[in-house]
């Protein structure tokens, strides 16, 4: 990819924020607060080098980290700022070795910024990639786990100074369950550092170049806005995606269940989509898009909801009756389309056994 990032700079942050929010597919939390914290670190003169995946040494020790909790809570309970750093230190202590680089667990949403913040604090580089290429609601839905990384030792920390180390867990589902139980006690927001990975593994398992991708995607939207071009089209062009529908939200059912925002929204088409009806199912993130009762796009492909006029992404908790939206489908990375990946992040894993994943058709044909 042209214009590969070598360093996160002040000029990148606004673009990163928008790109990460789009890749969050409605979930992943708002990157805004993380952006402000990273900005403070950069203004203090701290550096955040970015390592392209192919330059990562095989024996480097890489830790994937991010916030864990309910995004709704993160809006009101602002993080203290060193949660992930404390979790990282606990993992380092557990393995008895310093970590060489950090990587985002999830590029979509708030967790795009967490590794950058921790990297600035710890004086470490971030790797250009992540474990999802988007956002997913549960921790086992990550390529590290899908492609065989052990789940322990991992650590989580809260703003009060509590630290929990998962020394040994049967699998990532157990890590998810035990961490979820702990994060509720922590007030539904905490930082989590996952088990250290070897550079050689990260090169195989990471969704590549997603930090650069998020930054460039955000830039495309900002450029379109500045030049009075259609920002929705800019997103589609940049990501090789497709406009699924322009529509008004005609019904919205959303409730909190097991710590997740779940529900669906009903759509009435306008413009080119006039006469069509649509439906999107969600669990923190948008999962399935159906037109006139037929599924067109589903997880792990990305379903993105943008404000039809401004092109700004709308998160699931900000959805309202009557909003005019553009629904986009963006193809996910091939690492998420393998049989072992689909078992974890395909529609059946979200409770839709009747929906079969078919790679979405892109503009030029699939």
């Amino acid at each position: 990819m042209a214009d590969t990032m070598r360093e996160v700079t002040l000029e990148d942050l606004d673009a990163l924020e928008i790109g990460a929010a789009i890749l969050g597919t409605g979930g992943g939390g708002n990157p805004y607060i993380g952006k402000l914290r990273v900005r403070e670190e950069l203004r203090k003169g701290r550096k955040i080098p970015v390592i392209p995946l192919n330059e990562l040494p095989d024996d480097a020790l890489v830790v994937s980290l991010g916030g864990i909790g309910a995004p709704v809570v993160g809006v009101e309970k602002i993080e203290q700022g060193e949660e992930c750093l404390r979790a990282l230190r606990a993992v380092e202590q557990e393995v008895g070795r310093k970590v060489d680089a950090l990587i985002s667990a999830e590029i979509g949403g708030a967790n795009s910024m967490e590794p950058m913040l921790t990297a600035a604090q710890a004086g470490l580089p971030v790797v250009d990639g992540d474990g999802m290429g988007r956002a997913f609601p549960e921790m086992q839905m990550i390529t590290w786990s899908i492609y065989g990384q052990r789940s322990a030792p991992a650590a989580m920390a809260d703003e009060k100074g509590n630290v929990i180390v998962f020394r040994s867990t049967l699998d990532d589902k157990w890590l998810e369950d035990l961490a979820r139980a702990s994060v509720v006690v922590m007030g539904a927001a905490a930082g989590l550092a996952q088990a250290p990975m070897r550079g050689e593994f990260v090169k195989r398992a990471a969704i590549p170049n997603t930090v650069t991708q998020a930054r460039n995607l955000g830039r495309a939207v900002l450029d379109a806005n500045r030049e009075h071009r259609d920002p929705v089209q800019a997103v589609i062009d940049h990501e090789g995606g497709r406009l699924l529908m322009t529509a008004k939200i005609s019904d919205l059912e959303r409730h909190l269940k097991g710590g997740f925002a779940v529900g669906h929204l009903s759509l009435e088409g306008f413009g080119d989509s006039l006469g069509d009806t649509g439906k999107i199912n969600l669990q923190n993130e948008f999962l399935i898009f159906a037109r006139n009762g037929t599924v067109e796009v589903c997880v792990p492909d990305l379903i993105v909801v943008l404000d039809a006029d401004t092109g700004h992404p709308i998160t699931t908790e900000m959805l309202r009756y009557g909003q005019r939206i553009a629904v986009l489908g963006l193809p996910c990375h091939a690492l998420l389309r393998s049989p072992e990946a689909l078992a974890v992040v395909g529609p059946a894993a979200f409770g839709y056994p009747d929906v079969t994943f078919v790679p979405m058709q892109t503009k030029g044909g699939a």
Binding site: N162, I164, R167, S168, T169, L178, A181, S182
Partner: protein
């Protein structure tokens, strides 16, 4: 009473009985811990019991325990090596080996589990504990009163999950550990409150192993002599026979990792025509008359004994029709301080009673 010097196979029956007694209805049935300890003693030999004053000041003392709802432990048995994994995990975190095992809770299952661990690890066990009875939450120990941190704490379950906690205070430790225990299936093994010998000398209650051994011995001797043990226990331990009657109703729920509820008991013989309510949260916490007057409250001990055999009855096995003696014992003086009552007084548990020492009620 003579201090206990070592625990052999022959002692385990007494210890389990005495542990059930000091369990005040909770702490889990010591039976499972008893057979685990017996197995370990058979394999590795008797466990030495040492007085806290005989410990080196820089010795490492590690309490081990089972955490969870007793109702769950009845059905979900430990695999057997979780407690030793919790100990080994804590040793790894601290970077040194334990010199002695400690009992956090002299009542219930946790009176016998540490013996199993001590035997397996080839370590002595300290003649003391942190409660002088059983309590439902892990910050309710004399170590908290003395300012000893529960952390680092390790937890292990039968599936192989292992966790280390480092929290800001002991109440937070309880909250995290409780939540994780529920996720582990309602029961897990823990190692916590690592102490130096010097700390243990200041922060622990003494003689608890000897005491539960003696109580168990009394219960058994009286059984053999065909007498109810309540009279002799009252005499030798300063106890009070509070009530005798038949259990008419038990309302019991397992919520938030605890067995909670109330039992109604109607009087028999000298107590005929009267009835009392027993409130419990794993342990019996409040005994009150029908019109709400307390006759005994936590932290004093409320024990339920079988009217015929004198055998202690736990909150999870008690049922309709049981004929029982409600027996009260004064708690360790450490619990009667302001700080002690904040930790374990009736109001902490949500009961509308102020603490009055049992001998004054």
């Amino acid at each position: 009473m003579k201090p206990l010097k070592q625990i052999t196979l022959d002692d385990m029956g007494h210890i389990a009985l005495g542990g059930a007694f000091l369990g005040t209805g909770g702490g889990g049935d010591p039976y499972i811990g008893k057979i685990m300890a017996e197995q370990a003693i058979r394999a590795s030999g008797p466990v030495q019991v040492i007085d806290v004053d005989d410990l080196d000041d820089d010795a490492l003392i590690v309490p081990v325990a089972m955490m969870g709802a007793p109702t769950v432990m009845l059905e979900k048995l430990p695999r057997g090596d979780e407690a030793i994994s919790a100990l080994r995990a804590l040793e790894a975190v601290l970077g040194r080996k334990a010199d002695a095992i400690f009992t956090i809770e002299a009542g219930g299952l946790n009176s016998t589990i540490p013996i199993a661990v001590a035997a397996t690890a080839g370590l002595p066990i300290v003649d003391g504990d942190g409660m002088g009875r059983a309590f439902p939450e892990l910050q309710m120990v004399s170590m908290t009163l003395a300012g000893v941190s529960a952390c680092p704490m390790t937890m292990a379950d039968e599936k192989g999950n292992a966790i280390t906690l480092n929290t800001v205070d002991n109440l937070s430790t309880e909250k995290f550990a409780r939540s994780i225990t529920v996720e582990m299936g309602g029961a897990g093994l823990i190692a916590l409150y690592p102490m130096s010998g010097a700390e243990a000398k200041k922060a622990t209650l003494r003689g608890s192993m000897s005491l539960i051994h003696d109580i168990g011995k009394i219960v058994q001797e009286e059984q053999v002599a065909n007498r109810n043990c309540a009279d002799r226990l009252a005499r030798e331990l300063n106890g009070i026979r509070l009530f005798e009657g038949r259990v008419m109703d038990v309302d019991r729920r397992t919520t938030g990792g605890f067995a909670r509820g109330t039992a109604h008991i109607e009087g028999l013989d000298a107590f005929a025509g009267r009835s009392i309510r027993l409130h419990f949260q794993n342990e019996f916490l409040v005994a009150e008359t029908e019109d709400g007057k307390a006759i005994a409250t936590t932290p004093d001990l409320i024990c339920l004994l079988d009217l015929e055999t004198g055998v202690p009855i736990t909150t999870e096995t008690m049922g309709y029709g049981f004929r029982v003696i409600v027996f009260g014992l004064p708690c360790d003086p450490a619990w009667r301080t302001d700080h002690g009552l904040q930790l374990v007084g009736p109001r902490y548990f949500g009961y509308e009673h102020d603490y009055v020492p049992i001998e004054d009620l």
